[in-house]
């Protein structure tokens, strides 16, 4: 017998040599029904032709695994596609059924509504035609309601569908009975007419509502789909000198990967050669492209803009930053907000209570209602069953949480769970860690003050600017030092592109500073240049350098600003024509981040008290606090005491957020009501943090709190709507207003209200998307 052959290509994991190819090809070819199998080592893929009737994915998988490899036949993308197709099919089905029901319902209504029916063709006024139209609606379009209700009843569970089934079956059953046996009901009702319009239009409207609800709900999980879609599919790996494109699943740690302009960076790694500007906005939310060069880390799924570079993979698969972000967002969306507890409790009793209320409605209307009592009783019972909307309550919180955490992720704000998102809106105090959080964490040159320009500027000077020349001298001297302050000075000189001079006889004087010989104006000394010293006040005293009162004041002022001041002077040298003089001052400090002042001001505007916590001395801490506008300072706090300080403030009755790097201050982050960690490198899964800012932007602290406030407002509005709707409209449907105002709810309007109710909750959650961070 001839089979139609199917050709399929899939990825194989674990291949490393040419012999693997043979083993795999043999093993795949042995599967009954496989006519050919070709395995490509370079691409890591197998292409198999087979008879689909005989060969399943499972057989191929086990053939591959039997020889020690792993076949990835269905990857995530395919799974996503299948899910999408299924959803589309469901939507199409819902649309068709609701349109059919509404048309049938409309025709029945035309042929039965008093005043309107006279305009309809006679055939539409026939009850049997109504029955003919209503039956497919009830059992074909409405099949899904029965399909959901019957198995649920076996579990003794009632849901939304149960209510629809009871309501519409009552209306349909009564109508069918009237159609066949009108004379039997004559004694009870004045005019026995069927209500097929009720059953059909209810089904039509509820299906239509589900259609829109399903469409809207897809929007709530868009963020995660976007993140998954960011993943690159292939990588250009350099192996034994050749560049080959391989599927991303096969990239291994330490692989060298080449990325060209405009391409997506496949996995996380470190640049080995080349440089480029990289757009990381899709992953970190950082909007400005970042310049990167050798030694810098790159993040998978970001876009290389300008240059070509080669980098070494350091994180692959589930370890990459993108994979971690996806996992974190998925987890947050799977968690439950405490505010949902009440809704959960109510929804577990809701449907049975509505059924009991509906029965009571029937009994009361039958016993005490106006004539025809049976008709009133039945229609009101149906209205009660149909108006009740448990879905809105169930959707109120999770949809808002999904949208809220999704928006956060898009802007580099990763929220660990729904509870963190909920707590963040109550925060009234924020403690910022100083070093590395509020400040850059690396000292920088802040002031360069030449005090003796005539000595600094020699005929050999590189520039005529005493500031530049002073920096050049200091940097030349510090080039040989390993001190962290020296690094800052050399970096500053490099930034200004200053050519450093050679220093001879360099010497570091521990606790004091450095000295060395350098070319300067005046007499050359043995070995060349003049001997200069750079260091603190102690060094100057030791070397007999005199400071006048004006210089003293300048130094003190700088120190009060939290800066470390270094002094450059010539060293008194025997026979030197130049007396020992102070040449200039250079101040170095850990500077606050550019975004800090604005970020703090924003938070204070929101009425949040800000505190600064640091292990540094009070003067430095005060200086930073003053600059950034912070009033409360917790200085000289050892790392292990930070947690205690957080608890102290909590005892004042405050809801405290702690912002830190998540490494040194993990216990403090964990102790705070909300721990906020600034992202470091490619590691986003910071255990102690409730919120991780991968965009490393201090302004995002306020953004995260605002997002929490917005999300909570949406949830509260949703819950208020969902509860209020049921609390008000169920009694109306029961007819409580009838004795006073003769108001009753037509079951058709009940179904319209019900369908709108759950859509409005989802739509309100989607409105959150319009919130600009």
């Amino acid at each position: 017998m001839l089979y139609t052959l199917t050709k399929r290509t899939f990825t194989i994991k674990g291949m490393h040599c040419a012999s693997c190819v043979k083993i795999l090809e043999d093993s795949l070819a042995k599967v009954e029904g496989v006519s050919s199998a070709v395995v490509n080592l370079a691409t890591g893929k197998a292409t198999v032709s087979y008879a689909p009737e005989k060969v399943t994915d499972g057989l191929l998988e086990s053939a591959v695994s039997s020889v020690g490899y792993k076949a990835i036949i269905k990857d995530v993308i395919e799974h996503e596609d299948a899910e999408k197709l299924e959803k589309q099919k469901e939507l199409k089905d819902l649309r068709l059924k609701s349109v059919f029901s509404l048309i049938a319902g409309g025709l029945i209504l035309w042929g039965s509504f008093p005043g309107l029916m006279n305009t309809s063709p006679l055939i539409l006024q026939n009850f049997f035609v109504h029955l003919l139209l209503a039956t497919p609606v009830q059992f074909w379009a409405g099949y899904s309601f029965y399909q959901a209700t019957i198995p649920a009843l076996k579990h003794r569970v009632a849901n939304m569908d149960t209510l629809v089934v009871i309501g519409t079956t009552v209306a349909y059953g009564y109508s069918a009975f009237v159609t066949f046996f009108p004379q039997l009901l004559a004694p009870y009702t004045l005019n026995p007419i069927p209500y097929f319009d009720v059953s059909t239009i209810i089904i039509g409207l509820i299906l239509l509502g589900r259609y829109f609800e399903a469409k809207a709900k897809a929007g709530t999980s868009e963020a995660i789909k976007k993140l998954i879609g960011l993943q690159a599919k292939t990588a250009r790996v350099i192996r034994s000198g050749n560049e080959i494109d391989i599927p991303i699943e096969l990239v291994k740690i330490n692989d060298l990967i080449r990325v060209r302009p405009g391409e997506k960076i496949p996995v996380d790694g470190i640049i080995m050669e080349g440089q480029s500007s990289i757009d990381e906005s899709m992953v970190t939310g950082e909007s400005i492209p970042v310049d990167k060069t050798k030694g810098d880390t790159v993040v998978g799924a970001t876009i290389n803009k300008t240059g070509t570079f080669v980098y070494k993979a350091t994180k692959v698969g589930q370890e990459t930053m993108l994979a971690q972000i996806i996992k974190l967002v998925q987890e947050a969306q799977g968690s439950k907000a405490p505010i949902q507890r009440l809704a959960d409790l109510i929804s577990s009793y809701f449907v049975p209570v509505v059924i009991m209320l509906a029965i009571a409605t029937f009994v009361v209307w039958y016993n005490f209602g106006p004539s025809p009592a049976f008709l009133f009783a039945m229609l009101n019972t149906v209205a009660v069953l149909i108006i009740a909307c448990p879905c809105a309550m169930g959707l109120a919180t999770p949809t808002a949480i999904m949208v809220g955490t999704g928006i956060g992720a898009e802007h580099g704000i990763l929220i660990k769970d729904a509870e963190s998102l909920e707590t963040a809106h109550k925060i009234d105090t924020i403690i910022f860690d100083k070093t590395g959080t509020l400040t850059k964490g690396k000292p920088e040159v802040t002031d360069i003050i030449p005090l003796n320009s005539s000595v600094i500027l020699s005929e050999r000077s590189e520039s005529k600017d005493p500031v530049k020349e002073l920096l050049r001298l200091v940097a030349s001297l510090e080039k040989g030092s390993e001190h962290s302050l020296a690094e800052a000075i050399v970096k500053k000189a490099e930034e200004k592109k200053l050519a450093l001079s050679k220093v001879e006889a360099f010497k570091a004087i521990a606790g004091h500073g450095v000295e060395g010989n350098i070319n300067l104006k005046g007499e050359r000394i043995k070995g060349g240049g003049i001997r200069i010293i750079l260091g603190n006040r102690k060094l100057m005293e030791k070397e007999g350098v005199r400071l006048d009162s004006g210089q003293e004041r300048r130094i003190e002022k700088l120190e009060q600003e939290g800066k470390t001041v270094m002094m450059l002077a010539t060293r008194p040298y025997t026979l030197s024509p130049i007396p020992s003089t102070l040449l200039g001052l250079i101040a170095v400090a850990d500077t606050i981040k550019d975004s800090a002042i604005e970020a703090i001001a924003n938070l204070q505007k929101m009425g949040i008290e800000i505190a600064l916590i640091t292990g540094d001395n009070k003067r430095t801490a005060q200086a930073i606090a003053k600059k950034s506008g912070i009033k409360r300072v917790l200085a000289e706090v050892l790392p292990d005491q930070k947690e205690e300080e957080v608890r102290k403030i909590q005892k004042e009755g405050k809801k405290v957020a702690m912002v830190g790097d998540g490494i040194n201050d993990a216990p403090a982050l964990a102790a705070a009501d909300v721990g906020i960690a600034m992202g470091t490198g490619t590691d986003v899964a910071i255990e102690a943090a409730d919120i991780t800012l991968v965009n490393k932007d201090l302004k995002s602290v306020a953004a995260a709190i605002n997002l929490s406030k917005k999300t909570m407002r949406t949830i509260k509005l949703n819950l208020f709507w969902a509860f209020g709707y049921n609390v008000i409209l169920i009694p109306v449907a029961m007819g409580v207003l009838y004795p006073f105002a003769k108001i009753l709810l037509n079951p058709i309007f009940a179904s319209l209200a019900m369908a709108t109710s759950s859509i409005s909750v989802v739509a309100n959650s989607l409105l959150l998307k319009r919130y600009k961070i």
Partner: protein
């Protein structure tokens, strides 16, 4: 009160009591112990509804959704921070490793259908 009204009243009261008993006085099912993995059929609810797991042991929960109703299309295990869409008529495996003992509810996306995971030592 006429006979028909009396009948409707008695019938109605009985129906209310029956509804209460049927839905709200349901006895919890016996927990089904899972070893390495357990299949959970999703049709009008979860069967088995109550699953007992061992603390610290990784167990595969294989959800097989046979119910086309959109109510059951998602399963949420809030304590394990898991929310998954269940493809119709396919197996979806969720691996969990419970770290503490206790009872942990799971439910559909709209919290209408419930199941429970009981973690024992």
């Amino acid at each position: 009160m006429t006979a028909d009204k009396l009948i409707v009243t008695i019938f109605g009261l009985t129906a209310i009591i029956f509804t209460y008993w049927f839905f709200l006085m349901k006895k919890e099912e016996e927990a089904v112990a899972a070893s390495d993995s357990i299949d959970i059929s999703v049709k009008g609810g979860y069967s088995p509804e109550v699953i007992s797991l061992k603390k610290g042991k990784t167990t595969k929960l294989n959800f097989i959704r046979k119910d086309p109703s959109s109510c059951l299309e998602e399963v949420v295990l809030p304590d394990f921070k898991i929310r998954k869409t269940l493809p119709l008529n396919q197996k979806l495996t969720i691996e969990i490793t419970p770290k503490r003992t206790g009872e942990f509810d799971f439910a559909c996306g709209m919290n209408m259908f419930h199941g429970k995971i009981v973690v024992r030592d």
